[in-house]
Amino acid sequence: MGATVEFRHVVKCFGSQGPPAVNDLSLLIPPGNICVLVGPSGCGKTTTLRMVNRLIEPSGGQILIDGQDVMAVEPTALRRRIGYVIQQVGLFPHQTIAANIATVPRLLKWPDERIRRRVDELLALIGLDPGPVRDRYPAELSGGERQRVGVARALAAEPPVMLMDEPFGAVDPIARTRLQNEFLRLHREQRTTVIFVTHDIDEAIKMGDHVAVLQQGGLLAQYASPEELLTKPASDFVARFVGADRGLKRLALATVADVELEQAPVVHENQVLGSPEDGLPMAGAKYRLLLDGEERPIGWINTLRMPAGERASRGAAEPSSPLLSCDTTLRDALSMLLGLAVQTGVVVDDGGRYAGVVTVQTIAGVLRAAIEEGVPSPAAAGEG
């Protein structure tokens, strides 16, 4: 349901003198993709975004939505078809949450019943209970909740295109990660074409199907997938902007599901180590992973400290491994392992059942492969 958005040689100059804010920008954004515009301040990313819904008018070139020039559409009609989310959210303080979300459907004169249904559907979609939330005012919500309502408001009339200007820039890092993940999930369901502005390269890599790196003077430095941006930066500027740790950043693109899991020696609760029902020799491994009756991991058992003939119990287990799920990024997995100073992380499936383990060595292998594919070593990039 997303639209194709195309920038053709777009130029924006403010005033008659001075360098252009956006200079000969051409981009093709396929329908349903998230395109992130990223760059240092003054690179024209917000200006670029605001030209799509004509809050700023381009000085030259064309912006096409599904082939139609935005300059040929009446601005208010155009904007009602484009979702818009800004950093400060800008909810209407004098209207209830329901009325805020209903803004564009009301402008489009949807029947009341349809608006009501859509509002409740969106509230549920962003994880807020419509019953108590519908009639509250924005001041009664937390910052993260307000930001979610802002996204719901932008999605209300099912726009084919959505513009987001640093939407998660004003919330704390923990809430930001949650909002990012939620938005990605939401996007998988809605498949709107999204243009997303940020100055944070990590956010760009995480959120974007494509990332456009802009540099001062509104010049496009590179337009590529996050993968390509990290492995083949097109210029020194991009390499520096992406950062010396781009090999590490690449780990954020892969999840635990992408690597082959290893299997640790396990033992079930109340089994005797080395017994026939256990099936492993007593001296087979120093550490065994203790699982409960439903295959859920409890902790590690040090076999050297277990007297022979003793049943494996909860009391003997050390719960020192972080639990990872299949959609944990390798980057997060690595930082959890390093944070706890352990070698092995236990991976569980959606039901919390043991699926395998990921080790620091496995992740290092992925990192090494990335480097061999052409990413210079962090040290070499740091010198450049």
Binding site: T76, R79, I86, Q88, V89, G90, H94, T103, L107
Partner: protein, 216 residues
Amino acid sequence: MTPGEPLIRWDWLLAHLGDIALRVGQHLVLTGIAVGVGLVLSLALGIWAARRPGVYAPVTWVTGVLYTIPSLALFALLVPFTGLSLLTAEIGLVSYTLLILIRNIVAGIRAVPAEVRESALGMGCTSRQVLWQVELPLALGVILAGVRVATITTVGLVTVTALIGQGGLGFFIVDGIQRFFSTPLIVGALLSVALAVALDGLLVRLERLVTPWARR
């Protein structure tokens, strides 16, 4: 005042109840017209001034000058043109409301957060919809605070218009002064104050009623 006369003669009061009610009504009408017309003019000027910073300075300068002219002098100056009429009274009363109301309207509109205006425009509200559905509702609290001040000021000023044959409760004050008779003077003054306090209380209620979001 005749010596030995009581401050308030209750028999006069009882005999003039109908008259008093009439004057209170008249006082309310004079005040209502002045604040109403003043509000309409101020909204027009205030919205214009809030949109164009260049307009704000001259508008406040002109209304500021009007505000400083002594009311007695203003009415006297108008009489040769408009006579001892309701029009004369209202021209004066309205001019005194303008400065207060325009200032509050402009302050209220300017206090609307930029991101609220931006998101309204970005979602496809026309500038008229932004004004009526976003800016004015949000400015309502500040505007009504201005209406309260303007109303109290006007209730006081209406008594002065008794000198040009209008006046509401001011009629009793002028009557009392001319006849050295304290009862109507005190009745006029006290009721005028009571009227101001009552109207102020009503407007505070109204303010709460129309800004439910500010209470929680």
